[in-house]
Amino acid sequence: MSATGRRTRLRGRPLLHTSYASDLALFDTPAKRTSVGALLVLAVGLPFLLPDEVLQLLAVCCVAAIGAVGLGLVTGYAGQVSLGHAFFLAIGAYTAAAISGDPDGRVIGLGVTNILVWLPAAGLLAGLAGVLVAPLATRLRGLYLAIVTLGLVFIGQHVFSEWSALTGGAGVGRPAATLEFFGQPLAATGALGTRDQKLYWLMLLFLLVFALAAANLARSKVGRAFTAIRDRDIAAGVIGVNLARYKTIAFAVSSAYAGCAGALLYTVTGFFDPSSFSLLLSVQYIAMVLIGGAGTISGAIAGAFFITLLPRLTREMQAWVPFLSAQPNEVPNVFQVETILYGVLIIVFLIFEPRGLFGIWVRVRNYWKAWPFSY
């Protein structure tokens, strides 16, 4: 964020901006800055409050959020509905795993374990794949594009499960990339903390970097061009937005995000198999973007946390629904309810708050702004 211009801000007049720079700042009011700051402190401090197992899950949330932010750029901002996110996640995951993999293992590995090599490579390769897909987006609209990108997932799954030299094959899988930085493991239990604590901090850091970059993009001319294409593409062209170019940029950036997310995602569990990159995964990412509130970065992040934590929550709910059987052979049992809840919560959410988690936030905020004069 900009430092210049902020000093010129007059105290006590939060909405008065005396320079365009401060007006353009990401967090342009003291209230926003305070709350974001507080949230950050809390996020960084969590490892001292939560058990490792939860931290691991939160690390997954952070990575998923990177992927969701990426999808949010192409789908939420640029309006190009993509069901192909799983495909790009896969490209990133396999690029990273192959580069950092053990050269003598069961599957392809180049043995370059430095994250500085495999993470950018994963982003780059996935981004390139996005560029290749982009021409489709310039020809197709709406649901046609959605189903065609879905086709990518199916074709990708076929290729990945056949190409066992790279992927280990369906039902086998391979180890994920190694979290190493110039030979130093980035997450290993040691004096400074457990593996999961470090993992969480690391992923949180990545999330912050990626989210910040996305927020920058969104407020730049690129982000505006995305929105223009989404809302009215003909008019966008007439005022000077190169449609083909910006759709390509949208897919490239989004896929690069997906690639990085894919590369990091499985380092948490250390293992993945080609069946992971299914329709379901794509759908989960779309759900993250929609539930969070399409067209906002923070919404995508919130959605990612929600969807990733949801199975965990529904499992916890087993305890609160006493009349249900925990016997898998009885109907209805908790395991069925867990899955049903997953579906139902998505439905309920979208029906009652179509603007997503972000919409809820806006409502709450507006309520307090208007208080005590609500309505």
């Binding site: 964020m1 900009s2 320079s19 365009y20 720079a21 007006d23 353009l24 970059a213 996305a214 920058n216 993009l217 407020r219 730049s220 001319k221 690129v222 982000g223 505006r224 061009a225 929105t227 223009a228 809302d231 009215r232 003909i234 008019a235 966008a236 062209g237 007439v238 005022i239 000077g240 937005v241 190169n242 449609l243 940029i249 950036v253 067209g295």
Partner: protein, 290 residues
């Protein structure tokens, strides 16, 4: 009044004020001049079975306010669509400031300096007035995607400079009150004005206005008339105006082109056009201009 700030994004924004305004040829005498901004030459545009434009030719001078009128479906909007690259005509030439436009894509034409408004408001309804105007300046921002991701010096400076440029337009069109409102929530008349602002933000060499006062009440129409005159007189941007409000056309235009069934019916100055028998028959009917 200056609309152009030195553009930090490109540094090479074409400056149309190199054209000295003082050497303006007498408007009544030769409105087109030796070097017209636009030549539309024998353009034909057919859709399966419909001849939207059927051999239309005209030229627009560098300081002209040129109006096109004609019955509904006579091809006025289609002419605009050809000009801005939305439609590609089957035959004919369109020369704009020395460049042939046929076959160029809309964003390329926009970068050449052609700006337009639309018959049905085509604003980005979810964006604020400021964002809509900033979008008009899209091709004046020269930084790339990577710079945008980092919001590094270049991108930041370019954005700040463009904000300043946009504020000029806000002032000019008296949009202060609505700057931060999503345009979808604004009254129709204001939306039309924002759309005009977006076109102005492009710093065009030629402005195309498609029915700028349709659906407006008298008051809003008067405001719009004022802005159109100011653009022409103060900013010295030539304008092509399509409008059904005869009062407005006759009061403002330097020359009027009348089309019907995609063909030219008549060209002339506002004083003579309303009395042209073909125009009366095809277009005006028995009503007198209001």
């Amino acid at each position: 009044m200056t609309l152009t700030e030195p553009d930090p994004g490109t540094g090479t924004a074409p400056d149309r004020r190199t054209d000295p305004v003082d050497t303006d040829p007498d408007r009544q005498g030769d409105p087109v001049g030796a070097d017209p901004i636009l030549r539309f030459e024998d353009v034909r545009l057919h859709f399966a079975g419909v001849r939207a434009i059927d051999g239309v030719s005209f030229t627009v001078g560098r300081h002209e306010l040129f109006a096109i009128i004609g019955p509904n479906g006579s091809g006025k909007t289609s002419i605009f669509n050809v000009l801005s690259g939305v439609y590609r005509p089957q035959t004919g030439r369109v020369v704009f400031d020395g460049a042939d436009l046929v076959g160029r894509r809309p964003h390329v034409i926009a970068a050449l300096g052609m700006a337009r408004t639309f018959q049905n408001v085509e604003l980005f309804a979810n964006l604020t007035v400021l964002d809509n105007l900033l979008l008009g300046r899209h091709h004046h921002l020269g930084y790339g995607t990577l710079a945008a991701l980092g919001w590094l010096g270049r991108a930041r400076r370019a954005e700040i400079a463009n904000r300043a440029a946009v504020e000029e337009i806000v002032d000019f069109l008296e949009l202060e009150r609505w700057r931060r409102m999503p345009v979808g929530l604004l009254p129709y008349g204001v939306q039309k004005r924002v759309e005009l602002g977006r076109a102005l933000a492009m710093e065009p060499k030629l402005l195309l206005l498609d029915e700028p006062v349709a659906g407006m009440n008298l008051e809003e129409t008067e405001d719009m008339a004022r802005f159109i005159l100011d653009i022409r007189d103060e900013l010295d941007i030539p304008i092509v105006l399509v409008e059904h409000d005869m009062g407005l056309v006759m009061d403002l235009a330097d020359r009027v082109l009348v089309v019907d069934f995609g063909q030219v019916v008549a060209t002339g100055n506002p004083a003579e056009i309303p009395h042209h028998p073909d125009v009366v028959r095809a277009y005006l009917g028995e009503v007198r201009p209001r």
